[in-house]
C-alpha cells in the first residue's frame, strides 16, 4: 500500500497538480506540500503528492553508483 511513484508536475491550479507519468496524465492533490512548481517531480500516493523529489540528492546517489562502475571499468 505504501507504494508511491515519481511523477512530473506539468500544471498547477490551487491545491491540485496535473502530473505526467510516462505519458499518463492525472490530477493529484498538493494539499500536503508547501511549495510545488511546474517541473518538479513529486511522489504520488492514493491521489496525493506526498513529497517533492530532491533532485540534488538523487544526483548524489546516482554519482555514487557511477563511481562504482568507473572503479570496476578501471580494474
Amino acid at each position: 500500500m505504501c507504494l508511491a511513484v515519481p511523477a512530473l508536475v506539468v500544471a498547477l491550479t490551487d491545491d491540485t497538480a496535473t502530473v505526467d507519468l510516462d505519458g499518463i496524465r492525472k490530477d493529484v492533490s498538493t494539499i500536503l506540500l508547501d511549495e510545488v512548481q511546474v517541473g518538479d517531480y513529486v511522489l504520488v500516493h492514493v491521489g496525493y503528492a506526498l513529497e517533492r523529489i530532491n533532485a540534488a540528492e538523487a544526483e548524489k546517489t546516482l554519482q555514487l553508483f557511477a563511481e562504482l562502475r568507473a572503479l570496476d571499468a578501471s580494474e
Binding site: M1, C2, L3, D22, S29, L50, F65
Partner: protein, 370 residues
C-alpha cells in the same frame, strides 16, 4: 521513467552485490528485516535474493497494512453495511482479504458486494468524499487503512468534510504506526534481527529521526531504503557495514525523498484530526499500545466508530494458516501447509497471500519454484 530506470541498472546491481558478498564474509549470519512489503516484493521481483551470500538472510516484516488488519474488523464492517444499507468505500487492497467467518464462511468485502452490499473500490480518499456528495440521502463510510504513508490523505479529507459540513460522511479509522510495531518485534527478539531495512514512504512522512529511539534502545542498525532494486542493494551494504563496525544508527539511503523530520505539513494535519489510540490489535502481533490512530473528539461527527453501533468481533484465522508467524518474521511463507495448495492468490486463505505486498504473495509470484 525518470527516478525509476536509473535505479534499476543491472551492472550496478551486480557490482553492489559483489561488494556485499566481500564484506559480509566470515562466520556470522546477517539477519536483515525488511519492514515493508514493498521491499519484500522488490527483493523477489528483481532477484536480489539470489545475489546475496548464504549467510545473509532477508526476514520479511509486518509492513503490509491489509495483512496486519484483524479479520474481525472487516467482518464488523460487512455486518454494518448489510444492516444499514450504507455505502462503504475502501482501497482495492482490502477487497479480497478474508474476513472473520462467524456470519459467512470464507467471507470478504468482495463476496459481500456480490451479495448486493454497496461496497465501492476507490483510488483516492478524495473519491470517498465525492461519493458522499453525490449521494446526500445515504450514509457513506470510508474504511481507512494504512501506515503513516496513507494517513495524511485521510486526515486531509476529514478536515475538508468538516469544512463542508457533510452530514452523511464518516471514516472507520484503522491507521497504524510503524515505530511501535518495529519496537515490538525487536523487543520480543524471536526473529533475531541484526538490522532493519527501513520504510521508504512511511519515512517520507515521519522522517528518519522517528526511528532513533528504537535503534538506540534495541541496539539495532536501521537504514531507510528506497523501493528500487539499487536502493535496496545499497542499503543492504550500508547495514552490513554498520553490523561489521558494531554501530546501531539510523542512516538514510533514500535521501531523494526522506528528510530528518519528514513532511511536517502532513504530520501537522494528522495531529489536527487524529490522536493516538491506547490499544490496537494487529494480526500476528496481538494488541499493541500506542500503535494506531483514532479520530479526535473534535471530529467525532465524522468517526464511524462513534456514529454507528459497530460489533467488535474477534475472529480466528483459518486453521493451518501461519500468517501471524510470517508477519512476526518467525516463519517463511513456504513453511505453511496451505501455501500454493489450499492458499493461492486466486483463492487466498490468509491475508499475506492477498495483498500485492504480502510475503506469501511474493513467494508465490516470484519464488515458488525455488
Amino acid at each position: 521513467m525518470k527516478y525509476v530506470d536509473e535505479f534499476r541498472d543491472g551492472l550496478t546491481a551486480r557490482l553492489i552485490a559483489e561488494q556485499i558478498r566481500q564484506e559480509a564474509s566470515g562466520q556470522r549470519e546477517y539477519r536483515l528485516m525488511e519492514f515493508c512489503g514493498g521491499h519484500t516484493h522488490a527483493i523477489f521481483r528483481f532477484g536480489i535474493h539470489d545475489l546475496m551470500p548464504e549467510n545473509l538472510k532477508f526476514i520479511h516484516g509486518p509492513g503490509c497494512p491489509v495483512c496486519v488488519l484483524p479479520a474481525g474488523r472487516i467482518e464488523s464492517m460487512i455486518r454494518l453495511v448489510e444492516q444499514e444499507n450504507l455505502i462503504l468505500c475502501t482501497y482495492a487492497d482490502l477487497m479480497r482479504v478474508p474476513a472473520g467467518r462467524s456470519t459467512h464462511k470464507g467471507d470478504s468485502l468482495q463476496k459481500a458486494r456480490a451479495r448486493g452490499a454497496d461496497i465501492r473500490m476507490i483510488y483516492s480518499a478524495t473519491d470517498a468524499l465525492n461519493i458522499a456528495q453525490a449521494n446526500p440521502e445515504r450514509q457513506v463510510i470510508f474504511f481507512a487503512i494504512g501506515f503513516e504513508t496513507t494517513t495524511p490523505p485521510t486526515a486531509a479529507i476529514l478536515k475538508i468534510a468538516k469544512a463542508m459540513e457533510l452530514k452523511n460522511f464518516s471514516v472507520y479509522c484503522n491507521h497504524v504506526k510503524t515505530p511501535p510495531a518495529m519496537a515490538h518485534i525487536l523487543a520480543s527478539g524471536e526473529a533475531r534481527i541484526d538490522g532493519i531495512l527501513g520504510p521508504s514512504h512511511v519515512s517520507t512522512i515521519i522522517g528518519s529521526e522517528a526511528y532513533a529511539e528504537c535503534c538506540h534502545t534495541y541496539h539495532t542498525p536501521l537504514v531507510i531504503a528506497g523501493f528500487e532494486p539499487l536502493d535496496v542493494l545499497a542499503s543492504t551494504l550500508m547495514l552490513v557495514r554498520q553490523i561489521n563496525e558494531g554501530r546501531a544508527e539510523v542512516e538514510n539511503q533514500y535521501t531523494r525523498a526522506v528528510s530528518k523530520h519528514g513532511n511536517e505539513k502532513a504530520c501537522a494535519l494528522i495531529t489536527e484530526t487524529l490522536e493516538q489510540r491506547a490499544l490496537f490489535e494487529w494480526r500476528g502481533l496481538g494488541e499493541l499500545p500506542d500503535s494506531a490512530m483514532q479520530i479526535r473528539p473534535e471530529y467525532a461527527g465524522f468517526d464511524a466508530e462513534k456514529r454507528f453501533s459497530i460489533d467488535h468481533i474477534t475472529a480466528d484465522d483459518i486453521k493451518g494458516c501461519i500468517c501471524p508467524a510470517v508477519l512476526r518474521g518467525v516463519s517463511k511463507p513456504d513453511a505453511c501447509k496451505l501455501f500454493g495448495t489450499a492458499c493461492t492468490p486466486e483463492d487466498p486463505k490468509g491475508a499475506c497471500m492477498v495483498s500485492s505486498e504480502g510475503a506469501c504473495a511474493a513467494y508465490y509470484s516470484f519464488g515458488r519454484f525455488r
